[in-house]
Amino acid sequence: MSAVRLENITKTYNKGTVSAVSDVSFEVAQGELFGLIGPDGAGKTSIFRMLTTLLLPDGGKASVDGYDVVKDYKTIRSRVGYMPGRFSLYQDLTVEENLAFFATVFGTTIEANYELVKDIYRQIEPFKTRRAGKLSGGMKQKLALCCALIHKPGVLFLDEPTTGVDSVSRKEFWEMLRRLKEQNITILVSTPYMDEATLCDRIALIQSGKILSIDTPAGTVKSFRGNLFTVRSAEIYRLLNDLRDYENTGTCFAFGEHLHLTFAEERAGQEEDLQQYLRQKNHTDIELGRVEPGIEDCFIQFMKQ
């Protein structure tokens, strides 16, 4: 049985005028770390809120741990952990009080499930008498994760846990998720950061309420159509403009210190032709080579289809 299952889920707002989620279907297997990857406004939060029974779908069916999100909402609420995008703790309770509160609400105690949160809670335990409102961003995030875990949920929903967090804290957070996964908890996590996709078992790329692709990170990369090239020269901005004017350019985007390029039409001698064109345009230190696409390259390609 799938831990999470969505069939043709649809959600609109403002009396049907704004479409937030359209016809979304996917399944998350027991113990899987599944990533919902997409920019703001893609529909990620709406999906999370429907799965955690806080929002009713307009159409379609969804279940969590085999329970229907509409009929069995009470059962689901006691079985899932949910960490919303915005900080959801009680600012004027201490670290320890927050954790005890969440444990009590779910009819358990900190002691009963301490083993599960131990690794994470230890890092904030020295501050257990501090009010949650006075914690740093990284510590709040850890406490929120502990509170979402303290009743030993079967499925954990994490809505953009790393948004606005610097790259060091992001790496730490994903390390925590990896360790939780070893305890066989199903995790559905959303993020706008494409580089985090590779840390998931499977990912769904989502844009404007529609799923663009569902696959493993490696499978997503493999589905990239055509060959991808990396180009650079001494003047990168002029290079970008010249490449966009080139007759055989399919797409050309900046990727860090390089440009990523696809040809409009794959043909023999395409690389030599391009080199020639760039030399004509007086570019120097030209480097051109094949490169493996990343998740972001794939996302861009799916968006353009």
Partner: protein, 247 residues
Amino acid sequence: MSEPVIKTEKLTKRFGDFIAADALSFDVMPGEIFGFLGANGAGKTTAMRMLCGLSKPTSGEATVAGYDVYRETDLIKKNIGYMSQKFSLYEDLTVVENIRFYAGIYGLTDKAIREKSEALLDQLGMTHEAKKLVSELPLGWKQKLSFSVAVIHQPKVVFLDEPTGGVDPVTRRQFWDLIYDASDKGMTVFVTTHYMDEAEYCNRVSIMVDGRIDALDSPQNLKKQFSVHSMDEVFYQLARGAKRTAD
């Protein structure tokens, strides 16, 4: 050699015992794209607020667009542009109302506002959308518009505070086209970001750790200095050693 647009010398801000920004010294040249990086709580916002004339330094010196950060804060505010992802446009005003509003705030004359509005709409290819509410525009257009109104008074320098957070990968890159274009025309761009690939697009990058600037150079030189292949690794090596965390 032209004069720096931003010049700081041991610029410091203390809150009681806490040194939020610790003796920052750097110059930013005309037309430069300067990436201002740092972990959460490293002191970026404090430094940026001083440079925008919103917060008085405790000690040290700084000029922005030629004006002093202690005595000429009003002149600084008139001569810089500022844009953040969180707040930029009024969603319930139309496109042209937003343009007029910002132009008015920056003290353009009625005649200049009329001319500028038309020129800008034309340049953005948004003449047909002029009377649409901003809330109805696609994200990419909103961003273009909000950048354009932030520089409607043609400032020497524009401050961009995480302008691309949460934005799709195509829109994010279109936004950088605007940055390159502005820099090409001589405008200085001072930008913060959490996307390390964007750090590579900057001419030079500074990285703040615990209130100090611990590294400042071109992305290429920084990668060489730390013997790594990406700015992400440079950042990670530096920020990992941070002692403090804060919001």
